[in-house]
């Protein structure tokens, strides 16, 4: 009889149930998507970093006072020292050379850029970079490879006389591509070089205020051939563990050997320091940490959205239940007159809502998993290793749906049971 009642009351008031069910469905969809993403986000960050950006940065040693380049002692005006571009070939000799997937050296210089028939921008930061430089194994490397989020309108510089400017500069000076311009070193005697701006860079950071040229162009303009002041390197590494953080110089020779032969970012950085004179190579954790904070914030936002979605679902259930109970007051009064206890009637309504919650929750679980899958594919393009369905989430999500449905329907059920059954019966008469 209970099942019969449950079935009948479930089958009736369909529109209202559909609405309440839809609300639960949306709520659980959000929660499932959030949970599914949250559980995989950590793994994803690591995979992402293997693909995106540098994880080792090489700079001149801080205590390096001078570097001999071409037999000449250079003391850069910036107070920094230089590394040699030609030394980068030595990267091919280190133990984990084959794990290096990208190299991007750079040389910053000051430039004045005059737009013909327009304004002149003084003291801009110009950066010399590799754009398309051969790496071992026939692959090409350079700044665009290490900054996959960079977007170029037009094309990258291929030689002297070719420039790319950041989006901010382009907007400020009304630059379109291609456009002729004059490039000079501030205060230098050798005059203005004719250049063509071939591209505009969208990077989303302060690179949009810079001027980009080939490394050679920058070196020649600056009068410092072969000089570079920083190298970003991306290498395939083993995730850092406690052993990775050991200082190799304090380890026993045997342990040190093991440490050295593991592709930790630290070991590779160590080998780079050995290979390139005057170089300080350090593992970059900043990127990972900042990405981590961003993702933390995103998942915080997702929690908030999920909580809001569940709350909204609770209110929807509560509203649907309030009218449903109102419509069935007569029935409730009758059942009471037949000797039904409050518990028996509450059980019926709860069972009905619970059933709704289970159905809606299960569908929400499927929808949320699908959402997480597509979102995941969007956010982490290319790397989709998550399983579409995480079975662990199903009971969690259904339980949440049940809690929402029960909490949402409790006020109306309580109110209905508090009502004087005689008044309900009389109200009909």
């Amino acid at each position: 009889m209970f099942l019969r009642l449950l079935y009948e009351s479930f089958a009736r008031q369909r529109r209202r149930k559909l609405l309440a069910g839809l609300a639960i469905l949306l709520g659980t969809t959000a929660v499932t998507a959030m949970l599914a993403l949250a559980t995989t986000i950590g793994d994803r960050i690591h995979q992402e970093l293997a693909v995106y950006g540098a994880n080792i940065v090489v700079t001149p040693k801080a205590d390096q006072l001078a570097v001999k380049i071409g037999g000449v002692d250079i003391k850069p005006a910036t107070g920094g020292a230089y590394l040699k571009e030609s030394d980068l070939a030595k990267l091919k000799t280190i133990f984990w050379a084959n794990n290096i997937t990208g190299i991007s050296p750079e040389l910053p210089i000051k430039v004045d850029l005059s737009i013909y028939g327009g304004a002149t921008a003084n003291d801009l930061l110009g950066i010399g970079l590799w754009f398309d430089h051969p790496l071992t194994g026939g692959t090409m490397t350079g700044a665009p490879q290490l900054h996959p989020w960079w977007k170029i309108e037009g094309s990258w510089p291929k030689g002297p006389g070719q420039l790319v400017v950041g989006r901010a500069l382009a907007t400020k000076y009304n630059i379109h591509v291609p456009m002729r311009a004059g490039l000079a070193i501030p205060g230098a005697q050798n005059g203005i070089d004719d250049v063509v701006i071939y591209g505009i860079l969208d990077s989303g950071d302060d690179s949009e205020n810079k001027v980009f040229m080939t490394l050679n162009t920058a070196q020649n303009l600056n009068g410092t051939p072969d000089a570079i002041s920083r190298v970003d390197i991306s290498a395939q590494t083993k995730p850092e563990d406690a052993f990775a953080r050991q200082d190799p110089d304090t380890l026993t020779p045997a342990k040190r050997e093991i440490w050295y032969c593991r592709p930790y970012a630290n070991s590779i950085a160590y080998q780079i320091r050995e290979a390139i004179p005057g170089a300080d190579a350090q593992q970059v954790r900043k990127v990972e940490q900042s990405e981590g904070t961003v993702l933390e914030r995103i998942s915080g936002l997702m929690w908030l959205i999920s909580a809001a979605a569940l709350l909204a679902a609770g209110f929807a259930v509560s509203a649907a239940m309030a009218t449903a109970v109102l419509e069935r007051r007569g029935e409730i009064g009758l059942m009471r007159s037949l000797g039904a206890s409050r518990t028996a009637i509450a059980l019926l309504f709860y069972a009905e809502n619970g059933l709704l919650a289970i159905v809606a929750g299960a569908i929400g679980y499927l929808a949320g998993s699908a959402l997480a899958y597509t979102l995941g594919a969007h956010i982490f393009s290319g790397v989709s290793t998550t399983h579409a369905l995480n079975p662990v989430l199903l009971p969690i999500v259904v339980a949440l749906a049940l809690i929402v449905a029960i909490a949402g329907s409790t006020p109306s059920i309580r109110a209905a049971l508090k009502q004087d059954p005689s008044a309900i019966l009389r109200g009909d008469a």
Partner: protein, 248 residues
């Protein structure tokens, strides 16, 4: 079936010990919205087992209020109400539900059948809330009111008189000693009123205590005793004829 005895009772001597329903200074006051209405005012009377009592009175005189209290759906605000010897005030809500399921069968003017359940299921619903369903018994109860052949029909497929018969079958299914009928023929035509009247007569003959609210003098005449209400006050008519009581 219990043995039916016909005796002439001396109201003052035997009534108290035979009473299945006993009211002492019972009042029911409705408060709220700034006003208080005394729907039942200091009612004292008793009804003995097997008695058929008609409650009459103008609209708003407190008849339904009285019936609801007899049916344990409502409690007095003052006075004591005992049913089958038990004081309702001493019972917890759960006990009251249990008590109602055991002792009371309701017959409503509006029938109050659940629209999505068949006649049979409506009867079985009362079994379900009482203890457990028994389809054979439920069918027998429908047979008894002459509705056996319509067991699978929904209330909307039945006439008013037929619905009332299903309602009576439902009231009888748990074999309660007391039947409460609030204007059982109020919504019925002459022919159906007759059928219902005959059913009630039958039930009275088999020993049920019947408390029936009615506006209809013809129906009221069937009862052994009339209790008239006016503005919440009770006027008990003397016993007209012999009281049929069930020896229990």
């Amino acid at each position: 079936m219990a043995e039916v005895v016909t005796t002439s009772l001396n109201e003052n001597q035997t009534r108290a010990e035979c009473a299945v329903i006993a009211l002492e200074h019972v009042s029911r006051e409705y408060t709220g919205r700034g006003a208080s209405v005394r729907a039942l005012d200091d009612a004292t009377f008793s009804i003995v087992a097997g008695e058929w009592v008609a409650i009459t009175g103008p609209s708003g005189s407190g008849k339904s209020t009285l019936v609801n209290m007899l049916g344990c759906l409502d409690r007095p605000t003052a006075g004591t109400l005992k049913i089958d010897g038990a004081d309702l005030a001493a019972m917890s809500p759960t006990e009251l539900d249990r008590f109602r399921a055991d002792k009371i069968g309701f017959i409503f003017q509006q029938f109050h059948l659940i629209p999505y359940l068949s006649a049979l299921e409506n009867v079985m619903l009362a079994q379900y809330f009482h203890s457990m369903t028994d389809e054979k018994e439920a069918r027998a109860s429908l047979e008894r009111v002459g509705m056996g052949h319509r067991a699978q029909h929904l209330p909307s497929e039945l006439s008013g008189g037929e619905q009332q018969r299903v309602c009576i079958a439902r009231a009888l299914i748990n074999n309660p000693p007391i039947l409460l009928a609030d204007e059982p023929t109020g919504n019925l035509d002459q022919a159906n009123q007759k059928i219902v009247a005959n059913l009630l007569k039958d039930l009275h003959q088999t020993g049920h205590t019947i408390v029936m609210v009615t506006h209809d003098p013809e129906m009221a005449a069937l009862a052994q005793r009339k209790i008239a209400l006016s503005h919440g006050k009770v006027f008990c008519h003397p016993i007209g004829g012999p009281v049929v009581s069930l020896r229990r």
